[in-house]
Symmetry: C2
Subunit: 152 residues, 2 copies
């Protein structure tokens, strides 16, 4: 992870579809060299993948909610995690410090679907209670923060 790697990571966070040739021009190396560096970043786990950023409402996911979960005393967090993992609506899942063990970001199409999700969560073994907050609007999301030296 030298300065060139950081530049590559930054460039790919901004636009994951840049060609290797373009990346090479930006960092001042040859295309094969960039190809090899990016391959190493991928296989070492620094770059986990490449995702299209899709407007959720345009694919029928207009409702965003954040849900905190309080565990029963004595509940097994690993079991609960597996129960959460199979719910496709849960886009992100954090294990938290504090009374609420998990914080979920869920995305559904309608409030009715959100209600169903909350009911399902409350029925999940180990869940003592849930607390749901609805996002009225997403101002921004997953904004990459610049890191390392400026590219070039």
């Amino acid at each position: 992870m030298d300065a060139i790697d950081l530049s590559l990571v930054d460039l790919l966070r901004g636009n994951a579809r840049l060609s290797y040739a373009e990346l090479a021009r930006q960092v001042g190396l040859s295309a094969p060299a960039v190809h090899e560096r990016v391959g190493k970043l991928e296989s070492s786990g620094v770059v986990r993948g490449y995702r299209a950023d899709v407007a959720p409402e345009s694919i029928g996911l207009g409702v965003t909610a954040l849900i905190g979960i309080v565990e029963d005393s004595g509940a097994d967090s690993d079991d609960m995690l597996e129960s959460l993992r199979v719910l496709p609506e849960i886009e992100s899942c954090y294990f938290m410090a504090g009374v609420e063990s998990f914080l979920l970001k869920a995305r559904v199409g309608t409030i009715a679907e959100l209600e169903q999700l909350i009911v399902r969560l409350n029925r999940t073994p180990g869940v003592a209670s849930t607390r749901t907050a609805i996002a009225l609007s997403t101002k921004w999301e997953n904004r990459p923060q610049p890191v390392g030296p400026p590219a070039g």
Copy 2:
């Protein structure tokens, strides 16, 4: 937005670096047809961009926190939004229903940096109080949920 468009969106959410030729094979069209469809998805705002998914800790952002903000009565939300927007640590920002007007996801390198961020937030005009919860670990994040008919 027909079934083929949904398949393309799904494929690109899974791997944004797929070539047009590969996408074409997957959905059963020619490469130029796919090229045009993806171009329209981009210009219509369905696809907002393509991002490399980078392990945050590998670029020195090992601390994730969720911060709720209570506004002063009479504070201007738009002004506050602009104050929040310039803070690079804030990766996501939601305008919420409830007592806390904003919910932020912030990513910093150390707890000391988090402390500085919280101090800065509390000094921001319009902020009545903040509530910070620290993520001990991220179980998963921005997992794309499958949508539309299976590709092929």
